[in-house]
Amino acid sequence: MTLTLNIFTIVAVSAGSFFFMAGTIGLLRFPDTMTRLHALTKVDNLGLGLIVFGLLPQAEGLLGALKLLCVWIFVQLSGAIVSQLVAQLARRDGEQR
């Protein structure tokens, strides 16, 4: 059982780290603000999300796991709203140009 959980952790955390890499590369390589924003949201959702899911089996008890989930949900919510605001700004910038 522990082995399965550990494998799950390793797979999920690796996948999360991969999305961090993908997001950074996207930020470096994508041509404009909108596409870079797209890359960033993948990091917030999938990168952090998969790392949190991977860490759940290792958390101390139910409360610790809940706290981890809370952090992720919080980042999700705020990240989504901030991305909207950034996109608004970027679109207006684009129109003015």
């Binding site: 919080f74 919510l77 705020s78 709203i81 901030v82 909207q84 605001l85 608004q88």
Partner: protein, 313 residues
């Protein structure tokens, strides 16, 4: 050389590189952004030094409030910071040598350690049970060195008076010139309605958990200040005039109650800021709760800046 240690070396180099970047970046905006990232990494460094309380404080202040303050300043100075007169090469060389010497001296001083490292940790742990608190750092802040903490709050208030006194005479007592959103969009308003309840809960949690685990009045107060500023920036609540009596009351209620509890110590425990043994915990919690509120209001008004108009816009 273990793998974690190699990682730490890379981490320290990263911190120093960002520090250099902060100082040499051409645009003021980039410099401030780098400084905020620097604050984030310093918070992680404090974790590595096993000082979670300090990490919390640094995360709240270094990245959040200082960042907002400096970003506001950059926006006001935009395009006109100027490059000024860089000092000549001899001055640079002299300053460089001097700073390298200071660094080297500090490094050797800190590392030339005595046989037994001085530590007050045993003394703190011996007396922790009497303090009725479980978090040793909170015990130092609110019991063993309570006078320091009291004076720290006074410093915050003095800084606020200093900030206010920089306002032109004709707007004294007016509304702080916090930069607001020109036209808050509905998404921003939603954010400013969604975040504060969560933030206030986290702030109260920080103060409450601070008795036994890392956290405390200051960390909680910082979160409250951030949420208040968010609500004001989104124009959901007006920025209060600094002459309002309730603002003044909120600013001093924490320190006044702390002093009152301290004075009670003369009567019931024989010394200033001494707590009667049976009531130590409730008294500390009362002091911390009011201090959290006062710190929140003080920090919020510090970031909001000096008054610049008499009426609401």
């Amino acid at each position: 050389m273990t793998p974690p240690f190699i990682l730490e070396i890379a981490f320290v180099i990263l911190i120093l590189a960002i520090a250099v970047g902060t100082l040499v970046a051409r645009a003021a905006f980039t410099a401030v952004l780098l400084f905020m990232i620097y604050g984030l990494l310093i918070a992680i460094a404090w974790i590595r030094l096993s000082a979670v309380d300090v990490a919390l404080t640094e995360a709240a202040i270094g990245g959040g409030l200082t960042g907002m303050l400096l970003l506001g300043a950059v926006a006001r100075l935009r395009e006109s910071e100027g490059s000024g007169e860089e000092p000549g090469l001899p001055t640079l060389l002299a300053a460089g040598t001097f700073c390298v010497l200071v660094s080297a001296a500090l490094g050797t001083l800190v590392l030339s350690r005595p046989e037994v490292a001085p530590s007050l940790a045993p003394a703190v742990m011996d007396n922790l049970a009497q303090s009725a608190l479980g978090n040793p750092v909170a015990a130092v802040l609110f019991v063993f060195r309570a006078f320091d903490t009291l004076l720290e709050k006074v410093v915050l208030l003095l800084a606020l008076i200093g900030v206010w006194s920089l306002a032109p005479d004709r707007v004294w007592g007016g509304v702080p010139g916090l930069r607001l959103y020109a036209e808050p969009s509905s998404i921003l308003v939603f954010l400013a309605q969604l975040l504060p309840p969560i933030g206030i809960m986290i702030g109260i949690y920080m103060f409450w958990t601070g008795a036994s685990y890392p956290g405390g009045a200051f960390q909680g107060g910082t979160v409250l200040a951030a949420m208040w500023l968010l609500v004001m920036i989104a124009r959901l609540q007006p920025v209060p005039a600094i002459s309002l009596r309730c603002v003044r009351l909120l600013l001093v209620v924490g320190p006044v109650i702390f002093v009152a509890i301290g004075l009670l110590g003369f009567v019931f425990a024989g010394a200033f800021l001494a707590y009667p043994p049976d009531y130590a915990k409730p008294l500390i919690v009362i002091a911390e709760a009011t201090l959290t509120l006062s710190i929140g209001v003080t920090l919020g008004l510090l970031v909001a800046g000096p008054p610049d108009r008499m009426q609401q816009p």
